[in-house]
Amino acid sequence: MGRFVIRRILQMVPVFIGTTLIVYFLVTQMGGDPIQNLYGEKPVPDNIRATLTAQYHLDDPFFVRYWYYFSGLLQGDFGESIAQGRPIVELLAEAWPETLKVAGVAFTFELVIGVVAGVLAGMRRGSFVDNLVLVSTLFVIAVPIFVLGNVSQTFLGQEWGLFPVSGTDDGFSSYLLPGMVLGSVSLAYIARLARASVAENLRADYIRTAKAKGLPKSRVIGIHVLRNSLIPVVTYLGADLGSLMGGAIVTEGIFNIPGVGYQLFTSLNVEDGPAVVGFVSLLVLVYLISALVVDMLYAVLDPRIRYE
């Protein structure tokens, strides 16, 4: 296991470099003028422009700048935002807890409801519950998340007052609706995944064996079917946790939650290159780590998978 993890981490290094390089390149191609943006319509004093240009290495060739950036990254320095003049690590420290709260709600929501719905549907294929799960998940998948977000904000929030409308002033309950909206699509996928998996495993030979052993139905389903069916679900959940932690541009935007996605979108709009790169580097890191965790999870859950 140890050797497998080390090898995987070594494989992650070039991917990380490649991805950040592309992001860095794209950001330099944004073509805007971040220094001008600081001043809006006013002219930028020459001396300030010169200082900032030197500070952010804006005149250096691309690879030199990338090297400055990358070597900083290795020391845990994600760079500094031009627009806000603060270290990106600081911005992250503010934004991430917000994102994590939304992600936590989303994750719990999709895990509990998704798995239960999927298992029930899979056990009784063709039943009312099954059809209900199939149709409702299809709709959730088909409706774009911003429509879902807007509509639920308008009705559940504004009109009926069941949830806080936006912002984070209401403590924990502020995160409930955004979390459920964010988790809804994954919930639908998890329910369908669990359903297909349970239905397939119910037909497996080893389930026939389990019945022939005279095990009670609760044990056949609860241990033999579920233990196998949940492997794909758990790995999906692992990957999803990674993407949830990366923030949600749309959901955080609609509900006005100052999380990672929101910050990133703001930085993009003001063409704050260093901030964008800093945020994205971290997101890539989160993505890579979650991919690694998923692989390890797979191997832990399924003894047939061996580390080679």
């Binding site: 026939r208 022939a212 003894p303 047939r304």
Partner: protein
């Protein structure tokens, strides 16, 4: 394959002649599968019985209903689509089809156990073999996890798996095919059942391993004086271990006989065809016989004798009348104990 010495328990084949009746008595069993395409009649009136210590071989092609019968006995038919529509399954005189689901479940595994063909797919891939063996004791005898593991190791020892204690936590895929089948056998034996149903237990194995596994099974059967139903399509395996044979075709028994007699004098053209299609050393170089045609479509079983489209002896009567499984006799009318045939022309077949 070594021949198994049966002197220890020579149960003369008899049809429920003893005072307390046979261990298992299947009577006129009918099973059908209701599919999208229609109703497939998988079992159409099967009757057979097994006594303690006796081995019944059920022979037939795929789709002949031999496995479905076994699943009906175990009560593990997938319902839907499978339904038992008629018949009785008497175990020690009690009809299992009339038992409650809970009663039936308690019989499964503890009194009647089953061994499946493909041990790799029949064992749960994500649970250790120790867990799967121990489960029998935990569920049926209420042992603790720890006690169950000790029992599991004992079982593995008993079926001669080397280094049992070290391998108890291994997973099915880490064992060889023969070892996996031993684990299946160990699982079936765990609670020392009265009857074991082995559904093609050696089909997936190498020939050399087949012999070992069959020997083991026969040895354990003798040790515990268990009844054994051996489902197979392999006439070679049958000759060595079985006491009596039931040949199935299209969901019916077409011939029943004590094992050695059937080889000498088959009383049904289908059995005859099966025997003729075994390669034999003394007929080297000759073309091998093959029964022409395919097994019947169970959605549309031919009228009359189901075998008639493939039968070299088929006559008009075979296309209209279903032949009944009747006791058959010598030419002079003396009884042939235990022998039955469901052929309009059994006389010609056995004596001709």
């Amino acid at each position: 394959m070594t021949t198994i010495d049966k002197t220890a328990s020579v149960p003369a084949p008899r049809d429920g002649a003893t005072h307390d009746g046979p261990l298992l008595d299947v009577r006129d069993l009918h099973v059908e599968f209701r599919t999208r395409e229609g109703v497939a009649k998988a079992v159409n009136g099967v009757s057979y019985s097994v006594n303690a210590g006796e081995t019944l071989a059920v022979l037939g092609e795929s789709g002949s209903g031999k496995s479905v019968t076994a699943q009906a006995i175990m009560g593990i038919l997938d319902t839907p689509p499978g339904f038992v529509t008629k018949g009785e399954i008497l175990f020690r005189g009690q009809d299992m089809l009339k038992m409650s689901e809970e009663e039936h479940r308690k019989v499964r595994g503890s009194k009647i156990a089953m061994i499946f063909q493909d041990a790799l797919s029949s064992l749960n891939p994500v649970l250790s073999v120790g867990y799967q063996l121990g489960e029998m004791f935990r569920v049926h005898q209420g042992l603790s996890k720890k006690e169950a593991k000790v029992k599991a190791i004992e079982l593995m020892d008993r079926v001669k798996i080397p280094a049992a204690a070290a391998r108890v936590n291994d997973y099915p895929h880490q064992f060889s095919g023969g070892m996996r089948q031993r684990i299946m056998i160990a699982m079936a034996l765990a609670l020392e059942p009265d009857l074991i149903i082995a559904d093609e237990p050696t089909t997936a194995l190498d020939v050399t391993v087949q012999a070992q596994v069959m020997d083991l099974l026969a040895e354990l059967q003798r040790e515990f004086n268990m009844g054994l139903i051996l489902i197979t399509h392999d006439l070679g395996v049958v000759a060595d271990v079985a006491d009596k044979i039931a040949v199935m075709y299209a969901g019916r028994i077409v011939e029943q006989a004590p094992v050695h007699e059937i080889y000498k004098r088959p009383a049904h053209p289908y059995t005859k065809g099966l025997l003729a299609s075994i390669p034999r050393l003394d007929q080297k170089g000759q073309e091998l016989y093959a029964i022409k045609g395919l097994p019947p479509n169970l959605l549309k079983i031919p009228s009359g004798c189901a075998f008639n489209p493939r039968c070299p002896k088929a006559d008009d009567v075979c296309r209209t009348d279903v032949p009944v499984l009747v006791p058959i006799t010598e030419q002079d009318g003396t009884d042939l104990p235990g022998r039955r045939s469901a052929c309009h022309f059994w006389k010609e077949t056995i004596h001709g």
